[in-house]
Every structure is written in structure tokens, then in C-alpha cells.
Subunit: 249 residues, 6 copies
């Protein structure tokens, strides 16, 4: 595995141009995660997953994009959201630059829900214009593991924010940034069109927590990371085969 | 000083909304710096300067933007350049989000030559639309210090890339990423319109070095960092006064 | 209920400006639906749902948008896909025009999977810029009804295209356009990243069918329409309450 | 003739790819036409013309675009105008999709004055980038027929809106949507720069009528449609010859 | 009258801010006009008209825009065409800057057929966003005068290019740039959709002339200029009244 | 030398297509230059330089762009600034049109500081997309000559506006437009971030003068023009060699 941020260009270039030549890009956000988790939670999570994947596949780890589209949380000051168009542009530009560098494929490891649509646009563009094989991973494997591991209930179907699971992740990744003494729990009532229409979250939770962080453990966090890494490896099978076929490996 | 990446939103919000409320954004690039310095050199330098400034002014340090407009070096694989428009969009979006968060001002600490024009556009937009007081620092104080400290000659007027001075910076900031055993020196012949027209650098230096890294020392690097920090503080005087006046401090 | 297409402006204007003033916009696509269903299937379905909703709520029915983002099916000639940006622009423009006309809210009834992301962008813009209350309905209530009614298996989780359910819809809405003599069934093998990355469908099915249309009945189609109409009415509760509150009703 | 909206893709594809392969796209608008004609008047007219042309030439009839640039009438609520850029984007996207589908040519049948400029831009782009042979028909043959058939005077040179001629068209096309009991006549005084500068119409006519609908007859409407169809066929001669030459017919 | 190009800002500012404060902007093109007229013909004509109008109304004459959208003539080398979007942007920017300078109105004097659509867009934007009263003059009064003065026939209805009338204009405005020894006449056969679809002109005339320049006289040119100036003054009546009303004059 | 504005297309085309085929484009601005110099100062200067260069190299002189990005001076009414994007678009469009016309290279002679960044973008695009060899000259040779010739001090490092040197230029180029009786001198105090952040100039000088025009002489102006012409010719050496190599000269 090569950490591009700390490595001179000739080694990175060599690594992109030989073998499968995958480049893993953690795409995060500077987004509120309640009073007990840091603003960098999504970036830290995406980077942890990307590092493990790059290690497993002897790939290139790119430095993370620390800012994403987190419009839903923009009502909490300190959250700094990019527009959707900017997120798309970043990913497209990096894809083009990787192609020019001779990389095998771009794998975005996405850590922020709000990046899904703009990254979908970027990946579609990279594919449609045949720039480079590319995909974005949105925590494959998460759902099954979350159902199995969760001991507290969700605030809403599919909504896990600064609660047991996300707190567990940070206990596993960087426990110094977790403040258990500030744990609060929050289960708001949502309107009939929640999940249907774009909606900012700050009217529903003063703290920014959705669910209950209290039962979080580093062990649960590790198990979630493992599940996502395994889920990602399964998803990546065909992309890797495609690259190897292209390169005659 | 508050490191936003590792801090929950309520503390960051409080820090942005009281006192001068300055937010320092390191803007780097993933750019070749010869066979002996890492791709992250410009980001590391900008982050080091921003961290020192935030500490001196008890301000908020934002996580760095790891990618910039480095078209000039895009011919060296591993370099991943954003388009100018994307760089501008990132800075404008972050400025708007800081304004919405109640920050006093945005100070971009730029580490990459190619970001100058697109950041100028961004700062002008933020000012012109009265979004937030903002400026971008391009290493003020560097020129005088460089002239005083340099023992090797420049490859061209104003061109210092992966040579004595940049290598000194990395010896001061993160010596483990410097590989003295790979030092090479390069003094190319440039065409008559060098410096006048946009020009990619790879035809002029196989290694990506412009100048001579051999005389680099951590001591020189520290002196350069000090000069840039002091130069930056001097430049910031009036912006800070303006913010204090606005806030009745 | 008022059908705007066939009504002079003074009646439409009056209807938008009084009561809840909802305007229902069917958003379809000209998209392949196998050898037995017409290219207008998605538009016809969205229009049928919108007409029933407008009737139930005495609202304004707008004429449909016949073209949408159907990139996934663009490999089947006759499919005419708009770009995502164009879909977003259409919905934003219509939202602005409805606001200028004094409407209470815009409800997009979406009939095409590919429109989801671009309509999400449009609705977010309309909300964020406080143009008009707006949402897009993606067949709420479908999943439960589909599970209950389906007698054949899905081609992939969540993938229902020109099979039992869509064919049932058209048997209920416009049976003359259905050609049972051309029914074919297709259950392709999908790659490991299917559902994760943007993927065109034509390499996986020559006919354009995904699943089996054979068990389709008009009765199933009616039951699906009923379920979507009821699901939509449930989702719309809060938007309607918000409009009534605004208007002092 | 094939009506794409109600036909499965294989037949439409076959029809586009053989013979001249012309696709007729009616481009309308949801635009006020006084108290006695429906908002869909322009779309209905364009569709009627396109259907007759497609029948005469055994071509493909595409479903209409129901929304257009009708800024001039946007002051009458119920009118829903797209921006010029959106109109251009729709036509360009459809042209590209037709090219990908193997069509011979795109013929836009335009029913709305405000679409002229944006459709001109679209057609120029399709031609200039050699996407597909394309043109937009703005009722060729209308002027001579109108002069011959009109019994009431025009509100201004070239201005026929919801008066004798447009009302005649709808009496011929869809008489149920015409409300003779609401006929009003209006001959406003226009400023010195009328026709020179972009101008909205609502300050000049409360009803939205410009001229006098009273003398309208279905017979006049039929005669106008005939004239436009014949005028269109004459204009299309060379485009069709060009397509046949390309295809070796 | 004030010629802004040769005048310091305080006088220009004073002139824009008092009286009617009209600013006349000649908008030309660098466009082929046959072997006997200069590339600057359209700019020279627009400037001559604008200068006379500014003199008659004691207004500000702005320096001309020398480049326009002349796509139709782009097949003749030496013609340098801007895109339509660029023409629109120039006019919108100048309108905004005039508004910021306190001008009464912007009057574009257009000299190039291809600028019509993009200038229409610009003027509509300036009006719609209430930036500044504005209009574009396309030689009002020309048609009647041309019919009266022309002794040779047109190459096509409404097509006058480098023939008797345009040559007469240049004989009146700048006779040194006219080369009678190179006069050629050209009456091409046009296709059935000429005038309907965007069409470049070079396939139809090798010389770039459409019509016959031989009968041109300076006297005819002067008469045409007079007619356009009088036509323009008539059109401007209401705009000027509107500005005077705004300013309480 | 050929003045394209006053020359028919066949001669211009021939001149662009043979020899080095350089086209010189003066890019100016309509920008305040104090109470004693005209708004067209920058355009006049750029045109004078371009004319001399075209004469020296027997090249094509294009008509000037009279409007530029002069945001810094937009606070002085009468100044009419384009946006940066518009300036870039103009230069890119002209570059593309020159390429289509078969020109050897585009040389922009820039007369306005604010055009530097947007012209840099344009030239980079023209180069990057391999449209045409191109560069923008920002008065090479000026600095040394200015230092040698100046008898009054600068208002700030690198800031020369409507003072001795610019006034000298206009005394040399067009003395009738200079008004010595209105000379004023101005040496404002600037803030600590002057030169670092985008800043409009009107708060610092009521007159618009920065420095002292009193010592200006036509002799100094001529010497400055000579220096810039010689500096430009030196810079152009390699571009011309590149064009000659391409053309086999």
C-alpha cells in the first residue's frame, strides 16, 4: 500500500501504472455529529475504510476530501457544506487526473450521505465519457451489520446519525475525539414526508443527535468497519477483474 | 486554538462567533515535488503555517483542502490537479458556509502557486457579494527571507520548486518524508516566454526538481516558516481590525 | 379538479390561488419497456397517478413532461434521454412559474427511476431558495404493495422493469398499448457492483425486460395504483397542512 | 406513421433507422390564450401539425414538449414559462438521443413564438457539432394564408394571439376546449418600441386577447393547418433529400 | 454629445447622471463583406449610426464592440465570430456597469444580423432583473428605405450582404475602405429551408457577396443612414419618456 | 502589416495563412484614469503597442477589445467593467476563430491589469486544448524602463495609475486627450493587506490618480513604448520560432 500524501511522485506513478493500479479516495464532510463527536467524523470513517481497503489490495491511498455536500446538517454552525456541483466537480477532476496518471481505476469511499447524489453524477460522467473505470462505495455491507449489531433503535428508518453506530465507529477509529460525558439521546417526531423530500435536520434535534449514543462500543465500531471492508471487497470483484482484463494481467 | 476536524460542532460554533472568529483554511495540492519530497508537500506547508497562525491568534483551524490547481505539474504522473473553476468553487462554498456559521473572517493559507488565480477569483466574489471578509495568503514575507536564506541559486526568477527552500520546509515540518539519497539538481534552459505564458514544467526537468535541494536544512525551513508567519500576521492587521470593529470589540 | 392543458388561464389561476392550490406535475420519460409495452409507459403511469391525486384533492393537473433522464436505458434505440441537468432545470423553472402564478405547492409525480436524483436537486433548490413548497413523489406505498401482489420474482432487488408489475399497470391504464403476444422473460446475471455504480442496462437484456411479464393482470395494476395513490396522500399530509397554515385556511 | 408514445421501442427503432427516419417533435408551451382558449393551445396546434406531417411522410411522431419559453405571457397566472436555456437544452438533448438511436433527422414543429430564439440556438448547435440534421418549423406558409383568410384586423403587425386565427385553429383541432361565450376583443395602443424590445404583454390586455376572436371558424382553422402543412412540406424538401443521399436511398 | 473613449471619467459620469443619460453602444462584428469591403463594415456602420444618434440626443457614445456572433460567415477566413453566449455576456455586463454608473438607459446599436438573438437575450435579462432600461436597435427604418432606394435585386428576401446597399453605406462612411475594382455580383440558388434553418453562407458564394455592389453610391448610403437614424429616433420616443419620468424631468 | 478592421477578408486570410501569420489583439478596458486622462487610456496604449509590433513583424493587427475586467476601478462611474468570465470567453472565442481562419498564433497585447487573470485562463485553455499557439503580453520590459524613467515616486510598489508614466504614454500616443490643467497628485495610505487581497480603489483616491502626473512628458512616453515593444519582441522569439517550425519556414 502506498500513502500518496507522504510519498514522492515516481513511486506513486509506478504503483498506479502496474498491477491493478486502484486509487482509493476517501470523500468526507465537515459535518456536525452531535456534542460528543468531532466535525471530521465522516472523513475519519471514510479514511479508515479506504486505508484498510488499500492495504488489503496493495493499492494507492489518496488524501481525503475533507468537505462534502452536507446540506441537511448546514443548520448546525460549524458544519461547512459544499454545493452538490462542487462535490461532483472535485470527483470528476480527480478521475481525469488519475486517468492522465495512468491509474487503473478510481474507487471513492464515501463517508457522507449528502455526497451520494453528486458522486453518482461524477461517476456516471467518468464512465459515460470513458475517462476511467470508477465507482463510489457507500458503505456496502453496512445495513446487515447494523441490524445485527445495533442495540438501540433507529431514529427513523435508515437514519443513523451520531448515535450508537457512528459513535462506535469513532470509538474504534479515534477514541480521543469522543466525549461520552456529553452523550444525549434524541428521538424526534418527523413529518409525513420525511425521507421523501429534501429536509434540513436542525428543526428536529437541538443537539444534532438522532438516536442514542449510550450503548456505543469500540468493539461494535470494529465489527462495522470489518463488515464494510468485506462488503466493499465483494462489490469490487468485477471492477478489479475488468481492470486486470484491460491490462492483460 | 481549535482544530475543527477533531472538535464537536458546539465548541467550533462558539469559537467562530466570539472574539475575532477567524477561520484558517490551508489550501494545498497533490503535486510532484521531485523524487525526494512527497506529493503532499504544498498541503503540509500550508497546514503548518495555518496551524501556527491559528495558534497565535486563538483561531479555528480548518482541515486542509488536499487538492488544488497544479496544471503546471500535471505532466508528472501522481500529480492530481483540479481545474481552476473547481478550486474557486471550493473556496466560495466554504466562505458561504462560514458566513452562515457566523464566522468573523476566512483566511485561506495557500500552499500552491497554481491556486493563486482561482483563489483570487473566489476571494473577490466573497468580497463583492459581501458574503464574509476574506483573503488568501500567498506566503507573505517569503521573498525577503528566501533571498536572505538561500545558498543555492534559483532555477529562474521566482521559481523555487523541490529545491533548497522547499526541501528545507519539509525537513522542518515532516523530515520522515524527505529522501536525501534521491536528491538531484536541475537548472534547465527556459524559452523566451517563460513566465509570460502558461507552461507545463515536465518538458524542462525529468525529475521535477527546479534548483538544487542539496543545501537544505531544517534550520532554514524553520526560519522560512517564521518569516511567513510574521509576514502573514502583519498582513492580517487590518482584516482583524475590521472584524473587531464589526463586532464591537 | 382542473386539467390545465384544456382550461383557459383565468380558471387555472383561480384554482391555484384558492384552497390548497396544489399543482400536480407528472414527470415521465420516453423509455424502452420491452417489446410489449410502449415507450410512454412511465409518463402514462405518472399521469394516471397524478390525475387520481388531483381528483382526490381537487387540485390542478398539469400536462406531463414526456422526457426524463433515462440514461440507464439509453442503449435501447427509441429511448430518448434528457441529461440530468435538463431535468433539474425543467422542474425548477416550473416551480418558479407556479410561484409567480400564486400556486400553493408543486407536487411532482415521478414515473422514472432516473429522474430521482435530478428531481431531488430541483426540489432542494426550490426549497432552499424559498421559491415554493415542493416535493417529488416516487411511488410511495409501492414497495409494500409490490411485495404483496407480485407472483413472479424480481430480476434484482428493487429492479422492476417491463415485468409483471409494470405490465399490470399498463393493462390497467391503457390496455391497447400492451402486446401480450410479445411477452418475453429475462433474468440476467449481474456483476458484483450492480446497484452500486451507474450502469446501463442493455448489455444485460436484449429485449429490455427485467423479470417476467406473463402473470400481469389489470387487477394487479389497479391495486398498485390504489396503493401508490394512498401512499402519496399519506405523504402529502404535512405539505398540505403547511400550505393551509400559510393561507390561513 | 408511428406514434412513439404508444409504441414499443423495437418498432420505433426500426422506423427511425430505415427510410428517411424523420422524427417530428411538437414543441409547445403552457401559455395563456385569453378567457376562451385553453392553456395548451400552442401545444395542441404544434401536435396537430406534427401529426399530419408524420402521416404524410410516414415518419415518427414524438410526444410533445408541453412547456416552452413564454416569457411574454408570464404575467398571466397559469402560464408556466421555461427559461430560454432550458428550452435549448431540451431540444439539444433530444437531438443527441435521436442521433444515438439512429434517426435520420429531427424536425421540431414549434407552436410558440417565444421558443424561436432558443430553438434556433439548439438547431445551430446540433448542426455545428454535426450531431444530426435538424430544423425547426415556425409555421411556414402561415403568413400568406393568414393574410388571405383573416377577416378581422391584427392587433399589431405579426401579432396574432387568441384572436380570429388562433381561435379558428382550436375550433378545428379541439372545439370542446373553445368557449365562444367568453369571447372578448382587444386592440391596445402599443409603445414606440413595441416589437423592438422584449416586452411582456399583460400591461396591454387584461384578457390576454390581442385582436378579435369573434369571426373564427373551424373552416378557417382547417385552411390554416393545410397551409402550414403544405408550407412545411415545401421547406422540408432539401432536408429529406439530404437524408436520402446520406442513406443511399 | 460625449465620446466616452476620449473623455475622462468625471465628464462621462456627469453626462450619464443628468438629463436622459442615454448611452449608445455600437455592437459590430469582424465579418467578411466580400472582396471589396473591409472586415469592419458592420462595426463601422453601427458606430456611424450611434454617433449620429448620440449627437442628436446629446448622449454618451461608448466605444464599439468590434466582435460579434457572425457564425453564418465563419466559413470565410478572417471572419472572427464570438459565440452567442459571449455576445450576451458582453451586453449584460455593460448594462450592469452602466446601471452602477448611474446611466439613464442603454441603447445598443446593432450592426450584425447574428447578434440579434444573443442581444435579445441580453436585453431581456437587463429588463427582467430590472438592471437598467435597455433596448437594441436593428436598423429600424431600413426596410422601407431599402425598398425605395435599391436599384438591384436582393439575393434572397431580407438578405443584403456586401451588395448595393451595404456598399453604399461604406461609400458614405469611409470610402477609402471600398475597392470598386474588386466588385463582383453573386445570386446563388438557395435550398428549400434557407431562412428557416441556421445555415452558413460560404457554400453559396465564393466571394462572400450576396447581390450586386455595382450600383452603390455614397448618396444612397447617406439616405440609408438618415432613414435608420430617423427610424431609431422614432422607436426611442417611449424609452426616453420613461427615463425622463423616472428622473422627474 | 495589415489592419484587419479596414481590409477585406481575402487579404487578411492570405496574411494569416502565410509567413508567421501572427495576429495581434489589443485588449483594453473602459477605465477611469483620473480627471486628466480619457477612459480609453488602456485600450489606446495596448493598441499603440500592438500596432508597432504588427508593423515590426508584418503581422495582422486586429481591432481592439474596448472593454475589460476593471473591477478595481468600478467604483468610479463611467468605468464599465466586464466580468472575468466574459473577458476569458472573448479571448477564447477569438483564439478559436483565428485557428479556424488558419492563423499562425494569437498574441494578446494586454493594456489593463485586471485582464491578467482572465487572459491567463484563456491562454491556458487555448494551449491546453491545442487550439492555437497563444500568449498574452503584459508590457514586458516595463519594469526596468519605469524604474529608469520615473522621476516621481510610486503610490505603492507596482502601482502606476494615471500618474507620471501613464500620462506620459498618452502624451506620446494621443496628446489631445490629455488635460494638464486638471492634474492632481495623490499618495494614499493603504491597509496592511493592500496588494494581497482584491480591493477596489475608489476609497483611497477621490480623483482616481495614484501618484503624480505632473512630471509626465511625451518623451518619457515614447521611451516606455519603445521599451515595451523591445521587451515584447524578445519574449516573442520562441513563439515565432515554434510557428515557423510548424510551417516549415
Amino acid at each position: 500500500m502506498i500513502d500518496a500524501y507522504r510519498t514522492p511522485w515516481p513511486q506513486v506513478a509506478e504503483h498506479l501504472r502496474t498491477g491493478e493500479g486502484l486509487a482509493f479516495l476517501p470523500f468526507g464532510a465537515l459535518e456536525q455529529h452531535g456534542p460528543h463527536l468531532p466535525l471530521g467524523t465522516d472523513t475519519a470513517t471514510a479514511t479508515a475504510v479506504a486505508r484498510r481497503l488499500a492495504t488489503r489490495l496493495d493499492a494507492v491511498l489518496l488524501p481525503p476530501v475533507h468537505y462534502g455536500d452536507t446540506w441537511n446538517n448546514a443548520g448546525y454552525p460549524g458544519t461547512l457544506s459544499l454545493s452538490a456541483a462542487t462535490v461532483t466537480a472535485i470527483a470528476v477532476d480527480i478521475g481525469k487526473a488519475l486517468a492522465a496518471s495512468g491509474a487503473g481505476a478510481l474507487v471513492v469511499v464515501n463517508g457522507d450521505w449528502g455526497n451520494r447524489n453528486p458522486l453518482y453524477s461524477a461517476i456516471r460522467t467518468l464512465q459515460d465519457e470513458q475517462v476511467i473505470p470508477a465507482l463510489a462505495l457507500d458503505h456496502p455491507g453496512w445495513d446487515a451489520a447494523a441490524t445485527a449489531l445495533r442495540t438501540s433503535r433507529e431514529a427513523a428508518p435508515g437514519l443513523a446519525h451520531a448515535e450508537e453506530l457512528e459513535t462506535s465507529l469513532m470509538l474504534a477509529i479515534d477514541p480521543d475525539t469522543v466525549h461520552p460525558e456529553r452523550y444525549v439521546s434524541c428521538y424526534p417526531a418527523f413529518p409525513s414526508d420525511f425521507g421523501t423530500r429534501p429536509m434540513q435536520l436542525h428543526p428536529f434535534s437541538e443537539s444534532g443527535v438522532f438516536g442514542d449514543p449510550a450503548p456505543a462500543t469500540a468493539h461494535t465500531g470494529e465489527a462495522l468497519l470489518d463488515a464494510v471492508v468485506e462488503g466493499s471487497l465483494a462489490v469490487l470483484e468485477d471492477l478489479r477483474a475488468q481492470v486486470r482484463a484491460r491490462r492483460g494481467l
